[in-house]
Amino acid sequence: MRACEASLYPRAVSEFPLSSVPELQEALGREHYLADRGLSTAIYLAVSLNKPLLLEGEAGVGKTEVAKVLSSLLGRELIRLQCYEGIDASQALYEWNYSKQLIAVRAIQDVTAEAHVQDLFGPEYLVERPLLAAIRAGSKAVLLVDELDRADDEFEAFLLEILSEFAVTIPEIGRVAADEPPVVIVTSNRTRELHDALKRRCLYHWIDHPALNREIAIIRARAPEVSESLARDVATAVNRLRGFDIAKRPGVAETIDWAHAAAFLGVERLDEETAAATLGTVLKDHDDQELAAARLAEVVADDEPAA
């Protein structure tokens, strides 16, 4: 169990194929994920120290993407647990396949039924859910616990238990434990505050909207068909939109969509007309759209890009 681990040098350090933060940053870049120094350090430390990484930030800043990229970078399986209100152990950990059991019960109505009852709770009737899958896969997996803020308090406490032990006891089968804990990424949109107990167990990183130049680079990496000048225009415009008093600030995903859309229309620069036609790719709230449409000249203005 990791809580008792006294070493300052966790074993996992040697298994991490990359030996420094810049190296990791570069490797992430090759996977088309452009992380800044802070995020790269957080990821590096999470993997090195065997600690879950809690990522918070507005929707669309690329929290979930971190887990996806990391799994392909490390060559590990991505196991995703999407949280929602009311999620409980049977949806997150395991469940018995009741209908299969029911059929089996009907099929084995003979004198030796007693022996068969044992079989009803054998591995073939067990439905594995993400957390159990992650425990079984252990160091071969990256576990993504997505949008934990949507689940309720009790689930958080339950998850905390799993994260500290990486073992579970199924009464009918016995104890299942991970050889080594998987890499764990927890994301939250911060619609509510997570428990301190959980936060203490995790490393924490707040992902902000990227700086202008990084966002341009991200567009170029994710949408190669977009020209340099168009990428700069789109990134600048999105930056200005984020500064407006709007309900839903566009994320990086929206920026990329906008660039795609503008490039598809065949323009080299983002002008007012193109922006108006494609505004729906970047703002998804009617009031926001109206507000932006009224100030469109300001959004696509060709002066000094807002920092």
Binding site: V21, A42, V105, E154, L203, Y204, H205
Partner: protein, 387 residues
Amino acid sequence: MTNPPPEAEALARLIGFGRDLRRRGLPVGTGRIVTFCRSAAALGALDREDLYWAGRGSLISRPEDVAAFDAAFDAWFRRGLRIELELPGAADLAEGSAGDQGDDLEVVEDHIVAREWHDMEEGDEAEGEASIRIVASAIEVLREKSFADLTEEERRRVARLIRRLAVQVPMRKTRRYRPAVSGQRFDVKRTIRRSLRTQGEPFHRAWRARSMRARPLVLILDISGSMAPYSRALVQFAFAAIAAGRRVEVFCFGTRLTRVTRTLRTKDPDSAMHEIGRLVEDWEGGTRIGASLKELLDGWSQRAAIRGSVAVVCSDGLERGEPDLLREQMARLRRLVHKIVWVNPLKGSPHYEPLARGMAAALPSIDEFLPGHNLDSLEELGRALAG
């Protein structure tokens, strides 16, 4: 890489930084400091930026704390810093030894004296009282009379009425489904287990239903000058709530926050009021709502039953501190609790609009905005709490 002495020194510097953050009021427990040291060690040779990010990832976990962290970091680690760490001493730092986070949390207290507000607040409210003090002791009249206008005798009668007030305890559904005679969910598991007794024939169907659980009720009462009569009434209301439900937390604030839950639980109403008066030093001083809420959220959110509760703030919203701080802290509270009810006696006046800067700052986080200035509106509050 190098000899032990400089390493021990480096380690001491790292730990010292964690302690410094704690002194600055950030909730940094020993466990976090250990993680910070391990992070630094895992990075090996560090420059200042490495150290910064190692600290940010391990020592804090709220975006609001970043500014405070940055300031502390700049003050603690000089520019151009470079540390090479291989920390043999730190190997003894077991993560398990980190049990004391809660206890050694030092809340930074600000000592702002509100003497000068005290006097100017008293006057105008008390003036009106004398002029309206006519006969009016029939209960009907009493129901609609503002708490600020009550005579001593009426106050006692109203207090008795309030205590009798039926307070509905706010309930929530629990996440778990429990076996039930009838319910929303078919219980396949139990049905199958029962069917084994009847040769696999599922004669008896079993069901599961969600059970209900009382939400905690948190009363946060402003006891500064103009609010005192209303807050006194709400303390009576708290008594009614404790009598009706199980989990109630009561905090009083003026310039500082005081938890009075314990007092209310043990004493009878009248002696409790005296006790609270003694306990709460700034009874009828000035109002610093934002700072008081911050004290509540920093100091009590992990210890008292606040998470998932229904929070009732009783205040006129005339904030003496920064409205921005209040806005921030209300947003924090909003994320922590199920529902915020703000009781503002000024709202009892038909011409009232929430224009005070403090009130305007708090408004976005509020679910229900009620007057609570007389018995009728307290009944309304009781109804609002059930939701």
